[in-house]
């Protein structure tokens, strides 16, 4: 099967509170750029399907040179090819993004399976895979947790509220991938990481697209609480916590 996997590198989503600031714009400080975790899940699925179907996959990212982090990771994991659509970083209208990814997919010769992450942890849009499927008029299966190659098709397990749904799909398809034990990204071998650093990354010119959504405002959101610390040795901490919990159970949550 021919596979295109769309990856994105983002500011470390686990950066401590306050490390990235939003005074009307994104101030990233010294926070590093890493492969987004759902894009890691997408790469793992791309790898599994390409291994099982004796195929290969191409990784595609859109953005500036900082995206090469994601593409190098894809190459180290076994992507046959990596391409970057060269656009500036910042907020991008997801419809415009999907149109550019569509144009790049055509330029790269198309695919049988288009694999996306569930959500990129910068703008948390969670819509690009669906938009792309709608533009190409292809079936779309969201939140895939597991995929097996079955003859010409794919047996897919997708997350649904309170469980999962399994089905067999044939023909070109768009998937978004969610986290779970079967999509946990394997670690690339050190040797492959070194080799990947020497592989080429094709740079593609972005298609001309209009902008529909623009960023009108960005502001800091805060969720801090005043916390009271329970201290002492383990036995004393446990006793205080037990007292706290008992009080809670008796009063049913009233303070």
């Amino acid at each position: 099967m021919r596979i295109l996997c769309f990856v994105k590198a983002i500011l470390d989503p686990e950066a401590p509170p306050g490390a990235i600031r939003f005074p009307g714009k994104v101030e990233s400080g010294d926070v590093s750029t890493v492969l987004g975790p759902f894009e890691g899940n997408a790469l793992e699925l791309a790898l599994q399907i390409s291994e099982a179907s004796a195929g290969s996959f191409t990784a595609v990212a859109m953005g500036d040179g900082a995206q090469d982090v994601a593409l190098r990771k894809a190459l180290a994991l076994g992507a046959g090819r990596a391409a970057r659509i060269d656009v500036a970083t910042g907020f991008v209208d997801p419809l415009g993004a999907a149109r550019r990814l569509e144009a790049a997919a055509k330029e790269l010769g198309g695919a049988d399976v288009y694999i996306f992450g569930r959500q990129a942890g910068d703008w948390d849009m969670g819509v690009t895979a669906g938009l792309f499927a709608g533009l190409l008029d292809l079936p779309f299966v969201p939140l895939v947790q597991q995929a097996e190659v079955a003859g010409e098709g794919l047996r897919l397990r997708r997350e649904i509220p309170g469980g999962y749904e399994e089905s067999l799909r044939t023909g070109p398809i768009v998937l978004s991938v969610t986290n779970g034990p079967r999509t946990l990204m394997r670690l690339p071998k050190v040797k492959d990481v070194m080799l990947a650093n020497r592989k080429p990354i094709d740079v593609l010119k972005p298609a001309e697209v209009g902008e529909n959504l623009t960023l009108a405002e960005i502001a800091q959101a805060q969720v801090t609480r005043q916390s009271r610390m329970i201290t002492g040795d383990a036995a004393s901490q446990a006793a205080q916590l037990a007292a706290e919990l008992r009080r809670f159970l008796v009063t049913g949550g009233g303070n």
């Binding site: 509170p17 939003f22 994104v26 201290t231």
Partner: protein, 305 residues
Amino acid sequence: MRSAVLARLLDLGETPAREAMGLMEALGGEMRSLILASSAQDAVAAVGDVHLGVHPALEDPDPEIAYLAAVRLIGDVPPDLLLLPEGPLFEMIGARLAGHFGMSAVRDVDEVTAESGAIVLRKGAYGGKANVRLRASGGVVAGLRAGAFPAADPQPQTASIEDLGPLAEGGKERRTVRDTSGDDLGRAKVIVSGGRGLGSREGYESLRPFASLLGASLGASRAAVDEGWASPSQQVGITGRKVAPELYLAIGISGASQHLSGMSGSRTVIAVNRDEHAPIFEAADIGLVADWYQIWPHLQKALEG
């Protein structure tokens, strides 16, 4: 402005669908309720001009069937603003419909305003560390966050009913499997959630007797789900469940903003983490810098005694 709500007939009694209708009423203009139904029903509680699309497979639709049905129901001219309650229907078809109609898509929206002809939508970004307002100059499909909008009190209306006729088939050999482990998280008064810090499946399992002593439900961080210790329906966070119990206990969870986004509505938060700098302490009311495995034997004795 022309707006429409797209919902399943089954969901019309639910608050999220009524909230979408409430927002549509508040925005005014031309309104339609587009309802996906598995059988014809002429009195439907909705607002605006009601249009019911009927196909037997819409009882529990495959993503493909739901999509094809919605495309037919919307017709050739989509509204400027198409509203769906955030949830499984949006997940399956919201963004795909947007792509099909050349509209943009925004989900988890908690505020919608019309500003000089443009629709402006507010949502979180950067795992909940930021809020953004996005201005749409063209059509947009919006997924609305539950609880963010006042619910309408829709009245039964006479609906125009369209038999959607044959729709192309969806996936073959389809089967759904229920997993009840996260069922009660939405209603739970007490939730005990475990993270990667528990170190192993056995470690995560040590939360089970603790939860049962408290009458609590079990939640998890993304890392605990990745490890296979907990099921995806137990994941709490921005890509998991949004919970709001009276008491939330976070054990061995660092407190990444994506996790906090799912539990910030909790009334009281207690965190146990062995790293005093863990961000979870900034989101907790009561904190214990401690190793769970040192605490738990004492705690168990104290609570059982």
